[in-house]
C-alpha cells in the first residue's frame, strides 16, 4: 500500500477519468466563419477542401540564469516540442518555479499531450481538416487535452507520493490542420501566429495583476482559467509557442508587439535554416537576455515549409 509523505496529499484519481475544469466560451476567431450553436453546419457551404500542408519545426528549452544561482542549481523546468512527424504540432510547458519537481510535470505533460494528439488523429482530422467541423468539436478537443494533462499530473502525484501541486506546469498547444489551426493556453507564456507575413499574439495574456501570478495544469486549475480557439489555417504561415521567460525579449509585455526577430526565425525555420541548434543558441546567448528575470526559456516554432520537408 502506498503511503503519502508526511503533510502531503496524494491524489489517486485515474488520469483517464478526470474531468477538465470547464473551458471558457469558444474563442474561435472571426477569421474562421463561426457557426452558431443552432446551425453548426452553416460553415460547410463556404469552406472548400484544402490540401495538406508541409511544416518545418524547431524547438529548444534553456535553463535560466536565476536557476543557476541556487546550490545545487535548479533544473530547467521548461519543455518545448515542435513535432512535424505527423500532424504538425507545437507544445510548451513551463513548470512552476516554486514547485519542487515541476520539471517532471512539464516533461510528462508535453510527452503525454503529444501522444494523445497522435492517438486522436482521426478525431483531429474531423475537427481541423474537415470543412464542416463545428466549434463544439474543437471545444471537446480542448476539454480532452486539459483533462488528459490534469490526469498526467495526478498520475505523477500518485507514482511519486507527492501532492499534485509539486508537478504543476503551464501548457501551450498549437495543432495544425488543413482548414484551421487549434490553440490551447493554460497559464502564462505566449502563442504567436504569423498571418499574412505579420506576427500576432493569440489568446489571453494569462497573468493576474502581479508579475508572478498565473495558473497551471494541476489540482487547483479552475473554470475560466484557460482558453482555446481556432484560426483560419489558410492565412497562416508560422506558429510559435513560448514560455514567459522567452517572451521577455520576443514579445512586448503588454502583448501589443512581437519582436521582428520572430518573423526572421520563422522564415529560417520555413527554409530549414533554423533548427533546434539555432533556437537553443538564441535562447542561451547571454548578451541578448541581459537584464531579464533569468527565468527558464523555451520556444517551439512551426513554419510552412518553403523547401521540401
Amino acid at each position: 500500500m502506498h503511503r503519502a509523505a508526511p503533510g502531503r496529499t496524494v491524489r489517486r484519481k485515474p488520469a483517464t477519468t478526470r474531468k477538465a475544469p470547464a473551458a471558457p466560451a469558444s474563442t474561435r476567431e472571426a477569421l474562421v466563419p463561426a457557426p452558431s450553436e443552432q446551425a453548426p453546419e452553416a460553415a460547410s457551404s463556404v469552406l472548400p477542401e484544402l490540401p495538406a500542408r508541409s511544416w518545418h519545426g524547431a524547438d529548444a528549452a534553456v535553463v535560466g540564469t536565476s536557476h543557476l544561482r541556487a546550490n545545487p542549481p535548479r533544473r530547467c523546468q521548461d519543455v518545448a516540442l515542435a513535432d512535424t512527424g505527423g500532424r504538425a504540432l507545437a507544445i510548451v510547458a513551463d513548470g512552476a518555479g516554486s514547485a519542487a519537481v515541476s520539471h517532471l510535470g512539464a516533461a510528462a505533460v508535453v510527452a503525454g499531450v503529444r501522444r494523445l494528439c497522435r492517438t486522436l488523429e482521426s478525431d483531429l482530422a474531423l475537427t481541423l481538416d474537415a470543412p464542416n467541423a463545428t466549434s463544439d468539436q474543437a471545444k471537446a478537443l480542448a476539454l480532452r487535452i486539459v483533462a488528459h494533462a490534469q490526469g498526467i499530473v495526478d498520475d505523477l502525484a500518485e507514482e511519486h507520493l507527492r501532492d499534485g501541486q509539486d508537478f504543476r506546469c503551464t501548457l501551450l498547444v498549437w495543432l495544425t490542420g488543413r482548414q484551421r489551426a487549434f490553440w490551447l493556453k493554460v497559464g502564462d507564456g505566449v502563442l504567436i501566429a504569423e498571418r499574412d507575413g505579420e506576427c500576432l499574439c493569440v489568446g489571453p495574456a494569462g497573468k493576474g495583476e502581479f508579475a508572478n501570478q498565473t495558473c497551471f495544469i494541476g489540482p487547483h486549475l479552475r473554470e475560466g482559467q484557460w482558453a482555446w480557439g481556432e484560426l483560419d489555417a489558410n492565412r497562416l504561415s508560422g506558429l510559435a509557442a513560448m514560455s514567459d521567460g522567452a517572451a521577455e525579449r520576443l514579445v512586448a509585455s503588454d502583448a501589443s508587439r512581437v519582436a521582428p526577430a520572430m518573423v526572421k526565425l520563422l522564415r529560417g525555420v520555413a527554409e530549414a535554416r533554423v533548427g533546434r541548434r539555432e533556437v537553443f543558441a538564441l535562447l542561451a546567448e547571454a548578451d541578448s537576455w541581459m537584464g531579464t528575470s533569468g527565468d527558464d526559456k523555451s520556444l517551439a516554432l512551426l513554419a510552412e515549409a518553403s523547401s521540401p520537408a
Binding site: 544561482r69 523546468q77 513551463d94 518555479g97 516554486s98 502581479f210 508579475a211 512586448a252 526572421k264 533554423v274
Partner: protein, 223 residues
C-alpha cells in the same frame, strides 16, 4: 542547418521594462529610538540598499520607499530603483510615534506607484510594506491598520510588522497585518535587512507561481 546568422537577431529583440517590486519601509524614528537603535537601523538600511544594488536583477526590479514617523511623518525616500539610490540621509530619532499617519502615507504612495506602473505598461510584483516600531503609536492608528490589513487580506500587499525590542506593542502591530508580527532580537537590524534583501531578490527573480518561499527568519527573529 546553415547560413543563419543569429547575431542579426540581436537588434530585433524587444527590451521590455523589468517587472518591479515596490518595497515600502515604514520606520519608527521616535525619540525612544535614539542612540544605538537608530544607529543600527541606519547601518541596516545602508546594508540593505547595498545588497540590492549588487544583485543584477533586484537592483533594477526592487524599488525602495522610506517613510519615517518620529514627531512628524516624513517621506525620506520616494520609490526609487535600488541601483539609483545614492546616499540615503541618516535617519534621526525624535518626537512621538504617529504610526497611523505614516502607514496611510505609505499606502497612498504605493497606490500611486502602482498606477504609474500600469500607465507605463510595466508589470509588477505584489508590493511589500515593512512596518518597524519599538513602541506604541501616539496617533489614531486604527483606521490605517484596518485599511492595511484589508489590503493584505485581498493579497494586494505583503505586510511584515516588526517589533523592535521588548517595548514594542506587538498587539498593536498585529492589527496591521494578517501575519503575526515578529520581534527583532536585540539590535539585529543588519541580520533583518540582510534577510529582507534576500527575500526581495527572491521575489524579483521568482518565476510564475503561487508563492515565493522565503528564508527562515531565525537569524533575527526573537519569537
Amino acid at each position: 542547418m546553415h547560413g543563419f546568422d543569429l547575431t542579426l537577431l540581436k537588434n530585433d529583440l524587444i527590451e521590455n521594462p523589468t517587472a518591479r517590486c515596490a518595497c515600502a519601509l515604514v520606520l519608527d524614528t521616535s525619540g525612544s529610538m535614539g542612540g544605538a537603535p537608530i544607529d543600527e537601523l541606519n547601518g541596516g538600511m545602508a546594508q540593505f540598499i547595498d545588497e540590492l544594488r549588487h544583485d543584477d536583477f533586484a537592483s533594477y526590479a526592487v524599488e525602495v520607499g522610506v517613510f519615517t514617523f518620529g514627531g512628524s511623518v516624513r517621506e525620506a525616500l520616494s520609490f526609487t530603483p535600488a541601483y539609483q539610490i545614492q546616499d540615503l540621509a541618516k535617519l534621526q530619532a525624535r518626537g512621538g510615534t504617529p504610526m497611523g499617519e505614516a502607514v496611510e502615507l505609505a499606502i497612498e504612495r504605493l497606490a500611486g506607484r502602482k498606477a504609474e506602473y500600469q500607465k507605463a505598461g510595466v508589470s509588477y510584483y505584489q508590493p511589500w510594506l515593512v512596518l518597524m516600531s519599538d513602541g506604541a503609536p501616539t496617533d489614531s492608528w486604527q483606521a490605517a491598520a484596518r485599511r492595511l490589513r484589508q489590503m493584505a487580506q485581498d493579497r494586494k500587499v505583503t505586510v511584515l510588522a516588526i517589533g523592535i525590542g521588548e517595548g514594542a506593542a506587538l498587539d498593536v502591530l498585529a492589527e496591521f497585518s494578517t501575519r503575526a508580527p515578529k520581534r527583532l532580537e536585540g539590535m539585529k537590524f543588519r541580520e533583518f535587512f540582510q534577510w529582507l534583501s534576500q527575500s526581495m531578490e527572491r521575489v524579483s527573480q521568482s518565476t510564475p507561481g503561487t508563492g515565493v518561499p522565503l528564508a527562515a527568519t531565525d537569524s533575527w527573529d526573537a519569537i
